[in-house]
Symmetry: C2
Subunit: 137 residues, 2 copies
């Protein structure tokens, strides 16, 4: 735990699942991408290769389960997966469902938006569907 | 194979490793990030969850081996991992070693550059070191 790290100090979103090693959260700080999900390490470490191979697999299983779930619920044009952490070097993955008319498409969501329209809204029961998808992992 | 897809039509960089399912390439089209490595599916498919779990693991093993190698050779401030594919929906991972004074840091490399200085140069023997790291996988 690092006091100056926002992902040590807070959850980084609405917690959907919490295990001893990981938490899955629904982002609350991405108004243009409200269906963005994050998989966040509980420990403060920076890189995937700071983890043992079995821990990396555990992490990616959560990432892929979320990708699968977002595809099923939203039928996005594309899913973006990214572990960047340049500003917050605490291991976290972004799982981002994209639509062809969303504010950044076909650019990355870390570039300036191209339009303010086409925000992918959360369908009814979205949070519950994510929770259910993680129940049987 | 899709005729209109640039990653079906070409390698997408200097090929470091080629297997029946994957190729690892050193990017030739990223002048601000010349040490960027890509892991690219040989088949034309878009998402990680289009693959069977064992194939996903094979892919991530290459991604993590490259992350490990770039860390060892370059001691970057951070490594960025991303599978976006909004413009080229043919599964490929970017493994991007970052330095704290590189042209985009701490932003993503898909945002406008913040400066033109600090380009991470390829050290002598870089390509050979990548090849060697993949020999014993």
């Amino acid at each position: 735990m690092k006091k100056t790290c926002s992902l040590c100090a807070g959850d980084g979103g609405v917690v959907i699942l919490r295990t001893s090693s990981w938490r899955v959260v629904l982002a609350e700080d991405e108004p243009l991408h409200p269906c963005l999900v994050r998989v966040i390490a509980q420990k403060h470490l920076a890189e995937m290769t700071d983890l043992a191979p079995a821990e990396r697999s555990e992490c990616m299983a959560l990432v892929f389960r979320m990708e699968e779930t977002l595809r099923r619920i939203l039928s996005p044009a594309k899913v973006n997966l990214a572990s960047l952490g340049n500003m917050t070097p605490h291991l976290h993955w972004h799982i981002v469902p994209r639509q062809s008319d969303d504010p950044h498409f076909p650019g990355s969501i870390w570039a300036p938006p191209l339009r303010q329209t086409g925000v992918l809204s959360r369908p009814p029961g979205f949070e519950m569907a994510l929770r259910q998808a993680l129940e049987n992992l």
